[in-house]
């Protein structure tokens, strides 16, 4: 059981990393892009907006925790 837990912990750390919110934001951005692509509206902007919002947000949280 402990080995299984460490196996999943390794892959979680490998893929998701220090801030799970960034991974969730990426999944939401891809979902939004897909939903927009099914309409006549442009869909390309959702991912850049997600990066521009969540990267600073994640850094802000990281530096805030230091204090």
């Amino acid at each position: 059981m402990a080995r299984l837990r460490s196996f999943f912990a390794f892959w979680y750390d490998f893929v998701v990393g220090d801030d799970w919110r960034v991974a969730v934001a990426v999944v939401l951005a891809l979902g939004t892009t897909y939903a927009l692509s099914r309409t006549s509206a442009p869909a390309w902007w959702a991912i850049p907006v997600a990066v521009a919002v969540f990267l600073p947000y994640s850094l802000w949280r990281a530096t805030r925790q230091e204090r």
Binding site: F14, V15, V16, G17, D18, D19, V22, A23, V26, V27, A29, L30, G31, T33, Y34, L36, S37, R38, P42, A43, W44, A46, I47, P48, V49, V51, A52, V53, F54, L55, P56, Y57, S58, L59, W60, A62, T63, R64, E66
Partner: protein
């Protein structure tokens, strides 16, 4: 992306990982002068990684391109943002810089504290396992980069060649200098790699999810430039000790 760009992107990313693995191997071999065990462990690790590429390589290239771009682009974007986040924290002084000399000394102290134990054909089991783990763990990131970049460009062999060239180049330098490769501008390279992984992840992930980028492939350099500008801007802001506005772009 042309073949040359694919080669450079993978070479650069894999060089960073190879430098880290080399530091671990050097520490493992130096501790008890067990170079044979350290190289055996490294060889076994490379064998495992080659097996992973041989099994997963054909599998990922068999998946339709759009599906690959969605999954791989998404993973690459998450992965790239992790790298970029850490690189910005390091560049702005909020996280300790990656110091190969210090890592080498730490690993060396741990290796020296352990007894050299023979197991079968391996004279120093600790040096073997330390090298094996170092190569496999750092190498998994290399495999990930090779498969993501290679499958997206339908050229896994070229990506694998770039990774191999990076590993060979770093290993040769490591063997020649016989010391941790502290002169390699590793933190700067990690920053550049973080920008590249994030940009390619955005581009491929967007295409996989059905987006059409303005200007098609021509938008990729603009994405790279925008991510680089954002990364540098955030580094400057954090270095000045200012709080980062959550909506900054």
């Amino acid at each position: 992306m042309k073949g040359g760009a694919l080669f450079i992107a993978v070479f650069l990313a894999c060089s960073v990982e190879a430098v880290e693995a080399t530091t671990i191997i050097l520490a493992a071999g130096t501790a008890h002068k067990s170079w044979r065990s350290a190289w055996l462990g490294s060889g076994a690790g490379l064998g495992v990684l080659a097996l992973v590429v041989a099994v997963l390589g054909p599998a990922v290239t068999a998946v339709p391109l759009r599906g690959i771009r969605l999954v791989v682009g998404g993973l690459l974007l998450i992965f790239g943002l992790q790298w970029l986040r850490k690189a910005i924290l390091r560049a702005s002084g909020h996280k300790a810089l990656h110091d190969e000399v210090q890592i080498f000394l730490d690993e060396l102290a741990a290796a020296k504290a352990s007894a050299a134990e023979r197991r079968g054909a391996v004279a120093d089991w600790y040096a073997f396992t330390l090298s094996f783990k170092g190569v496999v763990l750092e190498g998994l990131e290399v495999v990930f980069i090779v498969l993501t970049f290679g499958s997206n460009q339908h050229d896994v062999p070229l990506a694998a060649l770039a990774a191999l060239a990076a590993v060979v180049a770093v290993t040769v330098v490591g063997v020649v200098v016989h010391a941790p490769l502290s002169r390699v501008p590793e933190n700067t390279m990690k920053f550049v790699v973080g920008i590249m992984l994030t940009s390619f992840g955005m581009f491929w992930g967007g295409e996989g999810a059905g987006a059409r980028w303005p200007g098609s492939d021509a938008s990729l350099p603009a994405i790279v430039a925008a991510v680089a500008t954002l990364g540098l801007f955030l580094t400057v802001v954090l270095r000045r000790g200012l709080t980062v506005p959550a909506s900054a772009s």
